[in-house]
C-alpha cells in the first residue's frame, strides 16, 4: 500500500475501510482517495466490493473499521443526509428519482425553496432550469414528470439534483448501462463540464473502453481489497485492467482433473439450440453430456446469468429450444425441477433461501413431496435426510435447525447444493457458486463440483473468476455481449487466451456500433 501522504490535495481519502457481513469481508482495509476535478474510475467484478464502498461513501452503511477524511477533516458519514450536506452525492443505477413528480420538484426534493410552509414553485423551476442549462441541457422541460423522460434525461436530472446540493463529489454507479452510444457521448461531455468546475467524479462501469476515454485514474477492487490504486487511466492497458479484475489474488486449490475426459459421444443430457433473449443473449447453442462440467466465461454483462436462468426456465427465452434427455423443456422452473434439473442462483439470499426458515427446511424445499403422503409430511424422515446431506457437505456449524439467515456465504451455498443433491438432479446450473465464499469453503465447493461430475451429472458453471472456470470446466464457452465467441476444451484455453478473445470481441462490437450510428 502506498502512502496517502503523497496525495495532499485529496478531496476525499478513505483509509482502512473494512465492512464484514456474516461470513465474508465485503471490504477489507480499503484505501481510496479522490482529487478534486478528476474522474476516478472504480473497477471490479460483481461482489468485489464496489457497491459496499460507495454505500459507505454515501452514508448508507457504516463501516466496521476505517476513517473517511473529507477536505482534510475526519468525518463521520452516519446517514445519507450527512454525506449530501458535505457535498457527496451518489447517483445509483436504479435512479432514485420520484417518477410522478416533475423535473423541478425532483431537483428541489428535500430542500425546496419555501415561504413558510409553501413551496416557491417558480423559484424551484428557475433553479432547476439554471442547473440544467449549466449542464448544457437547458432544453429539458422542468415541468415534465420524470417518468416520461428517457433514462438518459432522467440521469441528467439526477446530476442536476446532485449539483443543487452543491455536490463536490458525484458517485455514478454504472451510468452508461442504460444509455445508447450517443447518450454516452452526451454524458461524457457533461462529466467534462463537471470536472472543469472542480467537481470530482467517481465513475463505475463495466465497459473498460469508457474508462480510458474519460478516466484520469483507476482503482481496482477484488474480493473486498484494493488490487491496484490510482493507476493512470490513459496509460494502463485494458488487458492489464481485466487481468487485475479477474486474476488470481489467492492460490486456487482445484482438485485434479479426471484421468480421462468425459465422453462426448452419445446423447447429451442437455441440448440448447439457438437460444436468445432480447437485450441479454443471442443464438446460444451448446450440449452438455453426463459427467461434464461446462464453463461459461465472460465478463459481467455478457449475459451469462440471464442465459442460465433461461435454460432453467426461470425466464422466458424469445427464440431457440432447450431439450433435456431429448425432450423439449417449456414449462418453467417446475418442469425443469421435476425432470431433474437444479439451479444455484447468483443471489443466494434473495433468490435461493427462505432466510427465516430453518436450514433443514431450506434443504428440502425442492424435495418435500418425497416426504409426504397425501400431502402430510413426515417431518422426522425429512429432517434426517436433510441432516445427512448437510453432514456430508460438512455444514458449519452443523445444526440444521438454525435459520438460514445465520449462515456464512459458503455454508449458505452448501445448503443450496444440498437441496439439489437431495433431489438427485442430473443437471445442475451453478451461477457464481463461490461468490462471497471464503477461501477454505471455495476449495470444498470445487471438490464438490468435481465429485458431482464424476458421479455422471452434468454441470454448467458460471463464474466471474476466470481461473475458476478454466480450472474446473471440461469445456469452456466464451460469452461476450450475449454472443458465444468460441467453444474450446478446458485444458486448452489460458486466461490470456480468453481475455484476448473478449477484448477482440469488444473491438468488433465497437466497430459495429459505429457502423450502426453512421450507416
Amino acid at each position: 500500500m502506498g502512502s496517502l501522504a503523497g496525495e495532499p490535495t485529496s478531496l476525499l481519502a478513505m483509509r482502512g475501510i473494512t465492512k464484514r457481513w456474516p461470513g465474508v469481508r465485503a471490504l477489507d482495509g480499503v484505501d481510496f482517495a479522490v482529487t478534486a476535478g478528476e474522474v476516478h474510475c472504480l473497477l471490479g467484478q460483481n461482489g468485489a466490493g464496489k457497491s459496499t464502498l460507495i454505500k459507505v461513501l454515501a452514508g448508507a452503511i457504516a463501516p466496521d473499521e476505517g476513517e473517511v477524511v473529507w477536505n482534510g477533516q475526519p468525518v463521520a458519514l452516519t446517514s445519507p443526509t450527512d454525506a449530501l450536506r458535505l457535498g457527496i452525492a451518489t447517483i445509483y443505477q436504479e435512479l432514485d428519482l420520484v417518477p410522478w413528480m416533475s423535473v423541478a420538484e425532483n431537483v428541489a426534493l428535500g430542500h425546496e425553496p419555501r415561504r413558510g410552509p409553501f413551496v416557491r414553485r417558480r423559484e424551484a423551476a428557475d433553479r432547476a432550469r439554471r442547473l440544467l442549462a449549466d449542464l448544457g441541457h437547458g432544453d429539458l422541460p422542468v415541468d415534465r414528470e420524470v417518468a416520461l423522460l428517457s433514462p438518459a434525461n432522467a440521469q441528467i436530472v439526477s446530476i442536476a439534483r446532485a449539483l443543487s446540493h452543491d455536490a463536490r463529489l458525484i458517485v455514478m454507479d454504472e451510468p452508461s448501462a442504460v444509455l445508447t452510444a450517443d447518450e454516452v457521448d452526451t454524458l461524457f461531455r457533461l462529466i467534462g463540464r463537471l470536472t472543469e468546475r472542480g467537481v470530482a467524479v467517481v465513475y463505475i462501469s463495466h465497459r473498460l473502453a469508457e474508462i480510458r476515454r474519460i478516466g484520469n485514474r483507476v482503482t481496482v477492487l477484488k474480493d473486498g481489497q484494493v488490487v491496484a490504486r490510482g493507476l493512470d487511466a490513459a496509460a494502463t492497458q485494458t488487458a492489464e485492467l481485466v487481468r487485475l479484475m479477474t486474476g488470481r489474488t489467492v492460490a486456487y486449490d482445484f482438485p485434479d482433473r479426471p484421468a480421462a475426459p468425459p465422453a462426448q459421444a452419445g446423447a447429451p443430457l442437455l441440448r440448447v439450440r439457438g437460444l436468445g433473449r432480447a437485450r441479454a443473449f443471442t443464438d446460444v447453442s451448446f450440449d452438455l453430456h453426463p459427467g461434464e462440467i461446462l464453463g461459461i466465461a465472460g465478463l459481467v454483462g455478457s449475459g451469462r446469468s440471464e442465459l442460465l436462468r433461461a435454460v432453467f426456465g426461470a425466464e422466458r427465452a424469445d427464440t431457440g429450444t432447450v431439450e433435456l434427455d431429448g425432450r423439449p423443456l417449456r414449462g418453467g422452473t417446475g418442469e425443469a425441477v421435476a425432470r431433474g434439473m437444479g439451479m444455484a442462483p447468483e443471489e443466494r439470499k434473495s433468490q435461493a433461501l427462505v432466510l427465516d426458515q430453518s436450514i433443514a427446511r431450506n434443504t428440502t424445499l425442492a424435495t418435500m413431496d418425497r416426504y409426504a403422503r397425501l400431502g402430510f409430511l413426515d417431518g422426522t424422515r425429512e429432517f434426517a435426510d436433510a441432516a445427512r446431506v448437510l453432514t456430508d457437505l460438512d455444514l458449519r456449524p452443523p445444526d440444521p435447525r438454525r435459520p438460514a439467515r445465520a449462515l456464512s456465504g459458503g455454508n449458505q451455498q452448501k445448503v443450496v447444493m444440498a437441496r439439489w443433491l437431495l433431489r438427485d438432479c442430473r443437471v445442475l446450473l451453478l451461477d457464481e457458486p463461490t461468490r462471497g465464499v471464503d477461501v477454505g469453503a471455495k476449495a470444498e465447493i470445487y471438490a464438490l463440483i468435481r465429485d458431482l461430475a464424476a458421479q455422471g451429472r452434468g454441470l454448467v458453471l458460471v463464474s466471474s473468476e476466470l481461473p475458476e472456470v478454466l480450472g474446473l470446466a471440461d469445456r469452456v464457452l466464451v460469452l461476450h455481449e450475449g454472443r458465444v465467441l468460441t467453444e474450446a476444451p478446458g485444458g486448452v484455453l489460458s486466461e490470456s487466451d480468453v481475455l484476448d478473445l473478449i477484448l477482440a470481441g469488444a473491438r468488433q462490437d465497437r466497430g459495429a456500433e459505429i457502423q450502426e450510428v453512421h450507416p
Binding site: A314, V354, S358, G375, D399, D438
Partner: protein, 339 residues
C-alpha cells in the same frame, strides 16, 4: 479468513456454536421461539379473562357467557384462519366480510332453500370458492396487486349481495339449516364445533402438510420458492380459494344463527380478522404467523368486546382500546423490519 472458526452471531445475537437441543423436526428452533411468543400471547389472553372475572364477577364467569364468547368468536374466527393462510403466503384478502354476505344470501335464496340444507351449505361454500378463485386468478395470473383485487371484490361482492336480496333479507325456513347456528350439542353452540374443527384442521394443514410448508416458503421468499420448482402462482391462487371457502362456511353459520340471509352481515370482518392475525404474531409481509396465534388473537378481541359489553362501556371506547392493543402487541413482539 476468519469465518470458519469464529462463531457467527445470528440476528438475535446468540453465538452460532450453541448446539441446538430441539426436537428432530425440520422446524426445530423456530417452533420453540414461536412457542415463547404464543405463550406470551396466551398469558395476555388469560390476563384479559382474569380482568373480566374481576370487573364483572357475576356475569363474566358464567358458562352461558363463556359459550356466548365462543359463539361470537366462531364466525369471525373461521374467517381469520383463512386470512392467516393468505397473509402467511405474502398476500392480503380484504373481501372476506363481503364474501360472507354474498355466500350467505345466495345460500338463503328461495331456489337454494328448495334444495334443502345440503344444497344450501354446498352453495355457500361454492360461492366463496368461486369468488376466491376470481381473487386468486387475478392476483396470481393477472398480476393485479392483492390489496386492489380484494378491495374491488369487497365492493363488488357486497353490491351483488344487495342485488340478490333486492334489499330485503331472505328469511330462512329450512329448520335443518338453522339448527347449524342455533342449536347446541352437549351445551355448546354448534358453530363453536365448526370453529374448533377449522382451527385444528388449519393447524394440521399449516404444520404437517406440504401445502402449509409451501405457503410459508412462498411468503418468506417467492423467488427462491419458484427457483426450487414450486408452482408459486397456482399455490397463491389456492390460498385465496381457501380464504373464500372459509368465508362461505362462516356465511353458513352466521345465516343459520340469524335464520336470515342478509346482505349486511360481515361488514368490517376483514379488519377484525387482520387485527387478530397481526396480534397473533404474523408479519404482513408474509412468511411468519401461526394458526394458534391467530386463534388467540381473535379470542382476545372477542373477550375484550364481551367485557366492555358487560360493563356497559360504549363501543367507541372498545374500538379505541382495540387499536391500542394492536400496536402494543406488535411492539411487544419486537417485529421490527430488521429482526
Amino acid at each position: 479468513m476468519t469465518t470458519q472458526d469464529a462463531p457467527i452471531a445470528d440476528a438475535s445475537g446468540r453465538p452460532a456454536d450453541e448446539p441446538g437441543s430441539g426436537p428432530t423436526r425440520a422446524g426445530g428452533r423456530f417452533d420453540r421461539l414461536r412457542s415463547i411468543r404464543i405463550a406470551g400471547l396466551g398469558a395476555v389472553f388469560v390476563l384479559f379473562v382474569i380482568a373480566g372475572a374481576v370487573l364483572a364477577p357475576e356475569r363474566f364467569l358464567t358458562l352461558n357467557n363463556l359459550y356466548n364468547i365462543l359463539l361470537q368468536a366462531s364466525v369471525i374466527g373461521i374467517v381469520t384462519i383463512g386470512l392467516t393462510f393468505v397473509i402467511l403466503g405474502g398476500g392480503i384478502d380484504l373481501s372476506v366480510g363481503s364474501l360472507v354476505a354474498l355466500a350467505g344470501v345466495v345460500a338463503a335464496a328461495p331456489f337454494a332453500q328448495d334444495g334443502g340444507v345440503l344444497a344450501m351449505v354446498a352453495i355457500a361454500l361454492a360461492v366463496g370458492a368461486l369468488a376466491g378463485l376470481v381473487n386468486g386468478a387475478l392476483i396470481a395470473y393477472g398480476r393485479v396487486v392483492a390489496f386492489i383485487t380484494t378491495l374491488a371484490m369487497l365492493t363488488t361482492a357486497r353490491g351483488l349481495a344487495i342485488r340478490v336480496t333486492d334489499s330485503r333479507p331472505f328469511i330462512i325456513s329450512e329448520d335443518a339449516f338453522n339448527t347449524l347456528g342455533t342449536d347446541r350439542l352437549l351445551g355448546v353452540p354448534i358453530p363453536v364445533y365448526f370453529f374448533l374443527a377449522v382451527a385444528v384442521l388449519g393447524w394440521v394443514l399449516l404444520n404437517r402438510t406440504t401445502f402449509g410448508r409451501r405457503t410459508v416458503a412462498i411468503g418468506g421468499n417467492a423467488e427462491a420458492s419458484r427457483l426450487a420448482g414450486i408452482d408459486v402462482k397456482r399455490h397463491t391462487m389456492l390460498l385465496y380459494v381457501l380464504s373464500g371457502v372459509l368465508s362461505g362456511l362462516a356465511a353458513v353459520l352466521i345465516s343459520a344463527q340469524l335464520t336470515t340471509g342478509s346482505a349486511s352481515v360481515g361488514i368490517g370482518y376483514e379488519l377484525d380478522a387482520i387485527a387478530a392475525v397481526i396480534i397473533g404474531g404474523a408479519s404482513l409481509s408474509g412468511g411468519r404467523g401461526t394458526v394458534v396465534g391467530s386463534v388467540l388473537g381473535i379470542l382476545t378481541l372477542t373477550v375484550l368486546a364481551n367485557i366492555f359489553a358487560l360493563l356497559l362501556i360504549p363501543s367507541d371506547v372498545r374500538q379505541i382500546v382495540q387499536g391500542v392493543i394492536i400496536v402494543v402487541a406488535v411492539l411487544l413482539q419486537g417485529r421490527s423490519r430488521s429482526s
